[in-house]
Each structure stands twice: as C-alpha cells, then as structure tokens.
C-alpha cells in the first residue's frame, strides 16, 4: 500500500466513523481527487488543523452554513439555525476528530505526529492558501444537498534521503 492510498482510506474511514458515531449520519461514498494550488473563492465554513512532526501538513474541512448548523444540531442535540459560536465550535471539534483519527492511523507508519488546535473561518468570497507547495488529497461528499469536503496535505520534513516535501514524491513512498 502506498501512502496516498493509506491517507485516502483513513480519511474516508475516519469521516464515516465520526459522522456515524457523533451524529448518527451515514455518509455516501466520497469522491477522491488530488488538488494543487490555491482554492477558488469560498463561501461558508472552513476549518483548519495543523499536523507537525517528521511529516507535517494541514487538515481542512469545508462545508456550507446549513451543513455547519446541521452538524451542530446533530452533535449537540440542539436546534441551530444560524452560524454562531456553538456551530463553529462543533465544526472545529468535527475537524479535530476526523483529522485526529487520520493522524493516529498515520503514526503507525510515519512515527509520532502532533496535532494543533483547530481554527474555523466563516464568511463569503474568501480564499485560502497554504504556504506549502504540496498537493491536497480531497474527499467530497454529497450530504444534505451540499458538498462537504475533507482535505489533507502532508509532506516529509526530512532534508536527507529520498523523502522530500511535495506529495508526488512523498506519496510514492511504500509503507
């Protein structure tokens, strides 16, 4: 199994497990793709969490405002009709659990990794860009009539040997 497949499988399993366990929701199969460069303009809620260690990167979740409210309602068993602090906190925790599960899976192959505190953004017509050059693995789900996206970029921080930053190289490493 190569690392790209390992990460993709882990992202899909973690997302399905968190949705099922914390929200009682069954997700359809996601559509997997690789992305490069900065994303286009976004509307809605974007959550980010950092991964650090010998391998470092960022986990990201994007969803619509109505999906964010639905996540909050399902997780907290309360009615949420507008994106407020509770809704953003629920999306942050969802990100923490999904990417945290992926991180734990990857640690078995890549060694110890650290996880940052998540940051959530809500707005219209905003762009995001990572300073890194690596590709993102993206898994898109059609859920509640909108697209819910889980993304992860990860690159080796080692300066020697054949593992360097940049996913095309990094993902080819056999694990």
């Amino acid at each position: 199994m190569n690392l790209e497949k390992l990460i993709t499988d882990s992202m899909c399993a973690a997302t399905a497990n968190v949705f099922s366990t914390m929200m009682g929701q069954e997700l359809p199969a996601g559509e997997v793709s690789l992305e490069t460069g900065s994303a286009g303009p976004n509307d809605g809620v974007a959550s980010f969490i950092g991964i650090a260690g010998i391998w470092a990167g960022t986990g990201n979740i994007n969803c619509s405002p109505s999906q964010a409210c639905r996540i909050c309602s399902q997780m907290l068993m309360v009615e949420a009709s507008a994106v407020d602090a509770d809704v953003l906190d629920a999306v942050a925790e969802l990100t923490n659990m999904i990417i945290g599960s992926v991180k734990t899976d990857l640690e078995q192959h890549l060694g110890p990794l650290g996880l940052s505190i998540p940051t959530v953004v809500y707005g219209r017509n905003f762009r995001t860009k990572s300073a890194g050059q690596q590709e993102w693995i993206a898994v898109r789900y059609l859920w509640e009539g909108d697209i819910f996206t889980v993304k992860l970029c990860l690159a080796s921080q080692e300066r020697s040997g054949h593992a360097h930053a940049g996913l095309p190289h990094a993902y080819a490493i056999e694990v």
Partner: protein, 129 residues
C-alpha cells in the same frame, strides 16, 4: 451517593455532549463542572472538589497530560480518578497517560455506551469527599 464530575475540554461542544452523555449513563452523577483548559480545571477543582475528572489532551495553556501530572502530584487530588477523552490514540500518548496515573482512556469519537462502560468501574468505589 452522587459523584461530582469535572469535564475539561477546550471545545464547548464536547463539554455539552459529555454533560448530556453523563446524565444518560444511569450512573449516580451529581454536579457537573466545566473547564476549558488545564489551568482553569485546577482553579475549578480548588473551588468545587469532584470525584472524577474527564479531560481532553490537546488544549491551550495547560494540556490534559500536564493537568493529569499536576493532579497526581497533589496530595489533595492524587486519588481523584482522571479519564482521558481525546482524539490522541497513539501509543506514546496512551502510555504516557497510563504512566502518569490515568484511570482510563477513551478515544474520540465516542459513544455513550463507551463512556458508561468506562466510568461504571471507576465510579463504584468512590469515597466521600
């Protein structure tokens, strides 16, 4: 006798979920106090002694492992069971928590049954405050 509990997590969402889950366990739960990080937890427990602490690991200011070490190093609080509830499932974190004296370890995402099962064996022998 009801057991008072301190829930420590920087996520208000998780604190609310754990409050609800604790009430649903059927265990004799008394007051449930909350804190957003380890520092605040030490302040809260100083004002409201509890029988059990549930804590996340990754938190700002003072993380859950630091909180655990602080409680286990305190003559006043060292016997209070501490259960880690966290996304951190790596062997290093788990073994560190066990070494520091954690009474249990639950990985997020969690079910109400997992929390109930973990706490049932811990809360039974609770001693008076």
């Amino acid at each position: 006798m009801d057991s008072d509990v301190l829930v420590v997590d920087d996520s208000a969402a998780i604190r609310k979920i754990l409050q609800r889950v604790l009430r649903q366990t059927g265990l004799a739960i008394g007051a449930i106090h909350e804190a957003g990080d380890g520092q605040e937890a030490l302040s809260v427990i100083g004002q409201h002694p509890v029988h059990l602490v549930l804590t996340d690991i990754n938190m700002p200011k003072m993380d859950g492992l630091q909180l655990l070490a602080s409680l286990k190093g305190s003559p006043q609080w060292q016997k209070v069971p501490v259960v880690m509830i966290t996304t951190e499932g790596g062997e290093l974190k788990v073994s560190e928590a066990v070494r520091l004296g954690a009474a249990g370890y639950v990985r997020k995402p969690f079910t109400a049954d997992q929390i109930k099962e973990k706490l049932a064996g811990i809360l039974e022998p609770v001693l008076p405050l």
